[in-house]
Symmetry: C2
Subunit: 380 residues, 2 copies
């Protein structure tokens, strides 16, 4: 078979050709006049994607860099913060906050479950001086959705900030930043935003902007104070990744044309079809609260889980395996960004072929049928 | 006239079309097998450009991010460091070191002059506990070259590290990292490396690697410890800017094919022709120790310096003005990266037209003639 490469990993994802083409335009100087309208436009359009009226700053960095900006810019050494952790990325923010000298309550709970809003409320009652709570929109390592809205209910009328890691989840799972009262949202370009990696974004609520003014932690490149000051002058403190911003303009135009409500609905639909397909071929889902960003599937009994990623790769499909203690126990695939029904059919077909090859017994085609049936009975 | 855009700023610079095209290739996943040989190749090739046998790490960041990695990863709060400052970028590293709690001796000296090796030697004699000295290969704001070799002579047999900001200077001005004994070199993609902005690089000597192990400063994304550990496994701690790395491969192939000695010679030749051209039209150079990275020219008497950048922009030419107290006093242009003799002729012609328009009196064509004469009498 003609070998083609398909990415169903939770980022980097497939980038639309028109976005790639835009990134290859001749470089312009970021202090030159022609950069001004471009940067003004993308900074405004980002607000639509982040569902906020407040500033969204852009870094030349990965999503981790964006989260570092959010975390280090809103607290000072010794400050109490709460990191809600049930997976690799939750852990990362706890470790990061420790690295910057914060007094971190790293609340570790069962992988595959989301953070309990009541627990967050209890913790905040005990420590009303908590500077910030860190949660995931989607914990990528387990494909688990947090109830961001419910946790924002807890934090929004307190002095505590809510920092949401939406690096993988933005665009795929509903996130109403201002309406729900989320303070900082961190994201990366190479996920639902359909860009190559290299841009990080942070939205900053007025409450977060006040915290930024008071933060005494060590920072320079990832200083939100510097970034916000520059953004107010329609620029960046340091050289931006100009060509990725050319691509960003095109990707944002596509997302805006579709509309965020539709973008979320599309991802929800593709993810639901993926989940039904997996169940139809005798698999179970790992997450008790599955996100639309990525589908985490338990390796069925009798199948050597360590071979799934490799077998799919031989067909040209990039998916993700489990991390840490979930290695060989789960596999994960995403239809995140520039994906439609045919992309679900394609990955489900590949997973069926892969599992059959590895000895799993199921009715061939049942996955695709379940996905198609779901698509045919639900409006797009 | 058909309007075309020409960049003669000290970065971002003109990117060769074949490099731009490479950055628009379909994204691949950075943990997938096809990324491995690419990343191994560019990490090896970077050593040629940095003139080192030791690791060169790659960040998704601007050059400032690379410098932050070098600075924060090699000292701890309270440590004594020396920042040699005679321009905007030297000042930036002093401010950065202060932001991370180092005890910084910010040695400010005359703009347009390079740091005095004897002064550095005296300072180190007084404070042998100095953890690091920061200098510029080229101070971009003034177009001034440092005598890196002489300063490395001072630091190389001490416990003090030499950190060189080569963000603008790499490829344009000679830098023999290992031979001279430079410990850390920071660079960015959008200068002599002929790429769009978005990649930062740091080379790390064995002595610097020891310091990295001991550093207790606050860091996460820009931790050289994390980056070096990942590089040893041919990867990066966080998602790399994959598409810029596609371009990096092509740009490094071009630089290697030319050879670093020739790359330096070419930049030296273009810069010398630029300097002669400026003198031939009655201008003087700002720097007492001009770098080949960028040529800083004093605004001739009778000309409104604030109009030069704008007038050139109207012709399609992006150059840089002066910064801070040099605003309106100097203008700066670079032939940095993918530039040849014709590019010098083009910018000199444009500067001649611009200055004539702004009332400067000189023999028209004298600049181009001086450049051409120099080219014709020197071997390439």
């Amino acid at each position: 078979m003609l070998k083609k490469n398909y990415i169903y990993a939770p980022g980097p994802v497939t980038v639309p050709p028109q976005v790639l083409a835009a990134t290859a335009k001749p470089v312009i100087h970021h202090r030159a006049a022609d950069f001004d309208p471009l940067f003004r436009k993308v900074s405004e359009d980002l607000k639509v994607i982040f569902q906020t009226q407040h500033p969204v700053v852009t870094f030349a960095s990965s999503g981790t860099g964006a989260m570092e900006a959010a975390i280090v810019s809103t607290a000072s050494p010794g400050d109490h913060v709460i990191s809600m952790e049930s997976g690799k990325f939750g852990e990362r923010w706890g470790l990061m906050a420790q690295a910057f000298g914060f007094d971190v309550d790293r609340v570790q709970f069962e992988w595959g479950t989301g953070p309990d809003p009541n627990l967050v409320a209890d913790l905040l009652k005990k420590r009303p001086d908590t500077r910030a709570v860190y949660i995931e929109l989607c914990e990528t390592s387990t494909g688990t959705l947090s109830d961001v809205k419910a946790i924002a209910e807890v934090t929004r009328n307190t002095d505590t900030l809510l920092i949401v890691d939406a690096v993988s989840g933005l665009c795929a799972d509903e996130l109403r930043t201002d309406e729900w009262g989320v303070d900082l949202v961190g994201a990366g370009s190479q996920k639902g935003m359909m860009l190559p990696p290299g841009l990080g974004f942070v939205s900053v609520s007025p409450k977060a902007q006040e915290a930024v003014k008071k933060s005494k932690s060590a920072k320079f490149y990832f200083s939100l104070a510097k970034a916000l000051k520059s953004l107010a002058e329609n620029t960046t403190p340091f050289t931006p990744a100009v060509n990725l911003i050319f691509g960003l303009e095109v990707a944002l135009d596509m997302l805006k044309a579709e509309g965020m409500e539709n973008v979320w609905k599309r991802h929800a639909r593709l993810a639901e079809a993926s989940r039904r397909a997996m169940k139809a071929i005798g698999c179970t889902l790992f997450s008790q609260s599955p996100a639309n960003t990525i589908t985490a599937v338990n390796v069925p009994e009798g199948v050597d889980g360590s071979k799934i990623v490799k077998t799919l790769r031989e067909m040209g499909m990039t998916i993700a395996g489990g991390q840490d203690h979930l290695k060989g126990k789960i596999f994960r695939f995403a239809t995140l960004g520039y994906y439609n029904e045919f992309d679900v059919v394609t990955i489900v077909d590949a997973v069926e072929q892969c599992l059959a090859k590895l000895g799993h017994k199921f009715e061939r085609g049942a996955g695709i049928n379940a996905a198609r049936e779901y698509f045919s009975t639900t409006a797009e």
